[in-house]
């Protein structure tokens, strides 16, 4: 008896379709609005700004085409920061990946304390970099820092880690490795767990007596997708280096630790040259996109054995 009532209450197919479309838009509206306001619009604004001479507080601006990019090529500050960033990425990426892989293998091979070590090495990832940077400043302090105190005891001299232009980039890279290690370690540990145990048994029966042989035959190839992901993530995180530089060196001494994002920040918020700053941001964006392209198009094919 309720069947008839139900049929009448139901909307006709056309109304149903319209209602469904409207509901779909309504439900996705918050995400769409957030995406437009937080990501797409600012990105488009940055792209537009990069082709102007806009300065914060100026009453107007002019379209200057590619002049900002031309200026970069002759700007000693920018070229130094680009070079420093490349060196920094070149040190942090292999350092934190090799270190994390070695630690992951050690932790995986051990029987006890797995959770403990994972937590210990993951700590830098979840802690505030600015606060940690202050701790590093103390550790590396030329006169009161514990590191130099130890070196003095060993009679090895006392380098000025953060205030000498020959060591400042190395010191920052060391902090960068420490920062990224835990994150990569957790990824590698997950990757190691996913390797089928039977492959190791097969390798042993096939005659892989040494740990190194089993690593080459099983672990390294099977970790391929993980390593590629870790590589991309680490490079992007390293290119983004900013907080340690801002807190510890402000790009000094004598621009020896000037990096891409710090230069962008200085141009934009110290000198208020937002147009130029936006152009640097675009360069940064291009580098990150190029890395992601490299991962998906080139390397991905070599680590998935389809």
């Amino acid at each position: 008896m309720s069947d008839a009532a139900l049929t009448q209450a139901l909307p006709r197919p056309a109304r149903l379709a319209l209602g469904e479309t409207a509901t779909a838009w309504l439900l996705s509206a918050p995400a769409i609005i957030a995406y437009l306001l937080m990501l797409l619009l600012p990105t488009l604004a940055t792209i537009a700004l990069a082709f102007t001479d806009f300065e914060l507080g100026a009453t107007g601006f002019a379209w200057i085409g590619l002049d900002n990019f031309a200026e970069m090529l002759s700007d000693r500050g920018f070229m130094t920061s680009l070079r420093n960033t490349i060196i920094y990425v070149g040190l942090v990426t292999p350092g934190s990946i090799a270190g994390a892989l070695a630690l992951a293998l050690l932790i995986e091979a051990g029987t006890r304390g797995r959770t403990f070590f994972r937590a210990v090495f993951f700590l830098p990832v979840v802690s505030l970099t600015v606060a940690m940077a202050a701790a590093w400043q103390y550790l590396l302090h030329p006169s009161i820092g514990p590191l130099n105190a130890m070196l003095r005891v060993a009679g090895l001299g006392a380098p000025e880690w953060l205030s000498s232009s020959s060591t400042v980039l190395l010191s920052l890279a060391a902090i960068g490795i420490w920062e990224n290690l835990g994150f990569n370690l957790v990824l590698f540990l997950a990757g190691l767990t996913a390797i089928p145990r039977e492959l190791y048994a097969a390798a042993e029966v096939d005659g892989a007596r040494h740990a190194w042989q089993r690593f080459r035959l099983v672990t390294w190839p099977m970790l391929g997708p993980t390593t590629l992901f870790v590589l991309t993530i680490t490079m992007i995180r390293a290119v983004r280096v900013f907080d340690t530089v801002a807190v510890l060196t402000q790009g000094g001494p004598n621009k020896a630790s000037q990096v891409l994002l710090y230069t962008m920040y200085e141009e934009g918020f110290t000198y208020f040259r937002l147009g130029y700053s936006a152009a640097i941001t675009l360069v940064f964006l291009a580098i990150v996109l190029a890395m992601m392209w490299l991962q998906t198009k080139v390397l991905d094919k070599r680590v998935h054995y389809g």
Partner: protein, 380 residues
Amino acid sequence: MAGIRIQSVTKRFGSTQVLRGVSLDVAAGEFVALVGPSGCGKTTLMRIVAGIEQADGGAIDIGGRDVTRLRPGDRDVAMVFQSYALYPHLTVAENIRVPLALRRLNAWQRLPAIGGLLPGAADANHLMEQDVRRAAEALGLRALLDRRPAQLSGGQRQRVALARAIVRRPKAFLMDEPLSNLDASLRVQTRREIVDIHRQSGAATLYVTHDQSEALTMADRVAVMQGGELLQVATPEAIYADPQDLRVATFIGSPRINTLPAETGADGMVRVAGHPVGLWGARPGPLTLAIRPEDLVPAGTGLPAVAEAVEFLGESLLLHARHEATRTKLVLRLPPEARAELPAPGAAFHLQFDTTRALLFGPEGRRVGVSALSGEAAFV
């Protein structure tokens, strides 16, 4: 006669005793199937023979050599895994080549690109190439040598795993349920191929399976394992017709052997629910009477039963019945022509069996002697 010799091997995982002193010999050229339900310890035993697990006690000899303390790579065994365990990043040819390269080349010669230029490497590589080709041809893999495992079907991967095992001519083959991931028709076909490979190699083969039909069709001898111990090791015919333990009788054979609670009276007659069955037991007491489905036939007199259902299998049919007095389910395997005369479901009928093929088991499940229609009683 130098094959695999397993001597009172014990193994415990935590508080679970997985192996309780297992001893088993596999002669060179012999094919022994180790069969048992899952969790009975058969895979653990095989992994101990391979050296992947360490035994708590006992010893393993392979090819006349005590290998109990040797690494898997030094034992001269090859193993085929249930999951095949192929190296996904290597081609078929490279997969088959791995056990050769790890043995015949030193660390420098194995280096990619420049390794081949070192002294001795060219000759070794040439020989390995020949061996890989021979193993691949034996398994019909020639056209697939440049493929990766992901591009192969399950049956093809299985062949690659077998080729990788035979390529270095080991003294012993260990196979851990190698057919369980294949579909039914492929499984039957691959059975023969594995037996052929075994015959050609002349190695001792230990083959683990939970599938009794594989064990019966492929093996020279079948070892039935349960609860971490071997119940019986014998030829397939003896395991089927002459099981020494009730657990062996019920595990082997499909459909399962019929079992009826019985009793030997003071007069020596064996009775099922008071009904004499034409057998004499040695001493009074409870027994289990076991009869294969093909040994039971419907008849005008005999054990009373009620028909329940009929299953047609093509070459035979199964009549499911019930022995009311003991509330026991029974299965009869009959020729398909018998269909017309079968009792209808629900109808009462009588059962007879060939008393010479009936098996009697004592209260502990041990086989006890039978004398049929002789009046004599004897223990075996």
